[in-house]
């Protein structure tokens, strides 16, 4: 399924010291990249709680980009390694849930790597475009009580693939 008009929505988590600055640098240098990524600034990639990724994916994002300082260059010494470990386990869990692990990407970008940030962002948007929409946001629209609407809980009656009853 490739939808040519599909514009992915991507949430990017950036670290205050490196990748957020890399994004700033890409701006200062007027580099161009795809507008599909919306960034959140955290103090460190180590702040990345997997909940955030799950929230983004379940709330309508088609992909999540996590960025931090290169290994060995973390502003907080070694916290990006912790982000790396979580990222690895999270991807495994997502795969178990049938979600392409490629929808979550980890990029190391130093404050000087504006070009890398721009290039990785554009590349990621293209990767997600190829994967197609994730399709979670819609299902969670709530009615006034904060519950899933009736029409979403589409009941199964007769899936066409099911065999017909054969009279004896």
């Amino acid at each position: 399924m490739t939808d040519n008009n599909f514009e992915p929505t991507i949430i990017g988590f950036t670290c205050n010291w490196c990748s957020y600055r890399a994004a700033d640098l890409a701006g200062t240098a007027r580099m161009k990249y795809a507008p599909n990524v919306r960034l959140i600034r955290m103090m460190c990639s180590g702040r990345l709680d997997p909940t955030f990724v799950l929230r983004a994916l379940s709330g309508g994002a088609d992909g999540v980009m996590i960025t931090g300082c290169h290994p060995g260059e973390c502003h907080y010494i070694e916290q990006n390694y912790k982000a790396l470990r979580r990222f690895h386990l999270l991807r495994r869990v997502l795969a178990g849930l049938g979600i392409e692990p490629e929808r979550v990407k980890l990029v190391w970008a130093s404050a000087a790597e504006g070009a890398k940030f721009a290039a990785e962002t554009t590349a990621f948007v293209e990767e997600i475009r190829k994967l197609g929409p994730l399709g979670w946001g819609k299902g969670e629209e709530k009615d006034e009580g904060g519950r899933i609407k009736d029409e979403d809980s589409s009941f199964i009656t007769h899936p066409s693939s099911f065999g017909e009853e054969v009279s004896a």
Binding site: T9, G27, G46, R47, G60, A61, Y76, I77, E78, G137
Partner: protein, 667 residues
Amino acid sequence: MTEKIGVYVCHCGTNIAGTVDVKGVAEWAAEHLKHRGVVIGREYKFMCSSLGQELVENDIKELGLTRVIVAACSPHLHEKTFRTACKNAGLNPYLCEMVSIREQVSWVHTDKVAATEKSKAVISGGVERVLHNEALEPIRVPIHADTLVVGGGIAGIQAALEIADAGYHVCLVEREPSIGGHMAQFDKTFPTLDCAACILTPKMVEIGSHPNITLLTWSEVEKVDGFVGNFTATIRKKASYVNTDSCTGCGICWEKCPKKVVDDVFEAGLGVRKAIYRPFAQAVPKYPVMDVENCTYFKNGKCKACQLFCPTEPNSINFEQKDEILEVQAGNIILATGYDLFDTTRIPQYGYGKLPNVFTSIEFERMCNAAGPTEGKVVLRDMKTTPKSVVVVHCVGSRDENYNKYCSSICCMQSLKFAHLVMERTGAEVYNCYIDIRTPAKDYEEFYKRVLEEGGHFIRGKVAEITDAARLPEEEGKLIVQVEDTLIGKQRRIPVDMVILSAGIEPRQDAKEVGKLFGIACGASGWYTEKHPKLDPVATMTEGIYIAGCVQGPKDIPASVAQGAAAAARVLGKIQQGVIALEPIKASINETQCSGCRICNGLCPFNAISFIEDDKVSSINPALCQGCGTCVAACPAGAISGTGFSDAQIIAQIDGLLLRNLEEARV
């Protein structure tokens, strides 16, 4: 209470307005985020101008805004500006958030529609986040006026003297029996060729006698507790077996000591000392230390010659002395533990250790030193023959993927110094084999010129190998240095009597462990990481811990001294302030919810998290916490929360960015 939020969208001239429909965005926010508490959406040409700031201030006062969003450039540029404006208008500055629609929208996108839509999403995210912001106050901690300096090389000496002269107390801890560091080993120092001892000794003496300095030599820091303003260091003062109250440093003990030991540290293996020794004549302090590994008495229970001959009353030799553990309080710490020399045996093709007349740079320095093992004579390993020809090899272990990738930055100048000294003392022919000659400081190029004028030969080429296998008669009995002379494109074999390896410099072997003690990190090459490589080279990421000299990276004496002084200035600034305000971006643990699982305990690089055994809960020391948030994200019980970066804030921002807030009213 219902929040009143003001949204301000900046044109930045045409910087933003050129790509984003600023007016449309401001109106959209006012209308579509009304149910989220936005009471006003304004646009303005230059938000950071004084008029722009006044706009915000007036709205706070007149409309009673309780939260502010400024959509403009990067928060790294103007967050402070707008937070200050809020503060001036009586709003807690932490209730103001900036979102970037310039660096991250208008400058990087071209499609006006997409850029405008993204701006709306970004603002929506900001609005949701700011709804969860809390009013915060900076944390204030008092600063202890004493300073701990670790490492008594030239950098540490300089730092200690600056602070002590300013009237504050310093404790200087040095691992070796004497301060002085590497500089004490040299004879002359480039580029002016002053005698190292002549300029260093006065400073060492000053340290020894300064009323504001406690000097702890033969000592090491074992533990550091506390945080900026209030560190407690546990220091082990190793037993020297000499009672410094009575010892006069007369030297009779080491004269009489029968046990000779090759001095691998100060004399770089070229000279000998005794089992009881003072590393060099000008050592500070003047007292000897006993090397129990080699002392005959400690080995087989007999000797005690030193005690027998010691003339003082009471006798200064005390075989019963024990290590002492001291605790020192300090408000700030300066680390100046210097460097190690690259181990040249790691490059077997240079023959060091196998070919006797291949010397290291430090060996050569000792040889040139009038107080050294050859009394300043430049001779071969036989300690008598004067060399007639010498090759100085540059970049040994530096600029090489196989060893250290970086340039050691001192060895070019040091090699030029060696060329000069060899010519001055022996008249020998000297060849410098180099890749590039790097002389980027005042009077350095002039020094290079001088060596050229003195007749030094320069061969551009990294030495491939050094051998004693002669092929031609003129090579017999010589060291042959094989190198491509790249300027003529020929492989050359240069037969000489002596080779000096300008070994590079490396982080101290224990730099990583020592760094951990103080909560600071090493970069990829192993040097300590500074807060900012250009704008804050002596501070570290850990408040209150400073670095100076070669711990921060390879550098020469002038630069080490400059950093020592700079670190001292930073510390003095802190002491003068009396109290320090820390950003209130901190993590804290809810004790009721904490299960004491200890998952978080290993995660904080600043040792901010500790486990309280009695209550079986973990706890965070806010002064040590740097606010990275790693533990917040890690606690499986959800017991850790962070001010300024709470789960609620980030989750809300995610929802806002995804525009999930538009459909329903949840205020």
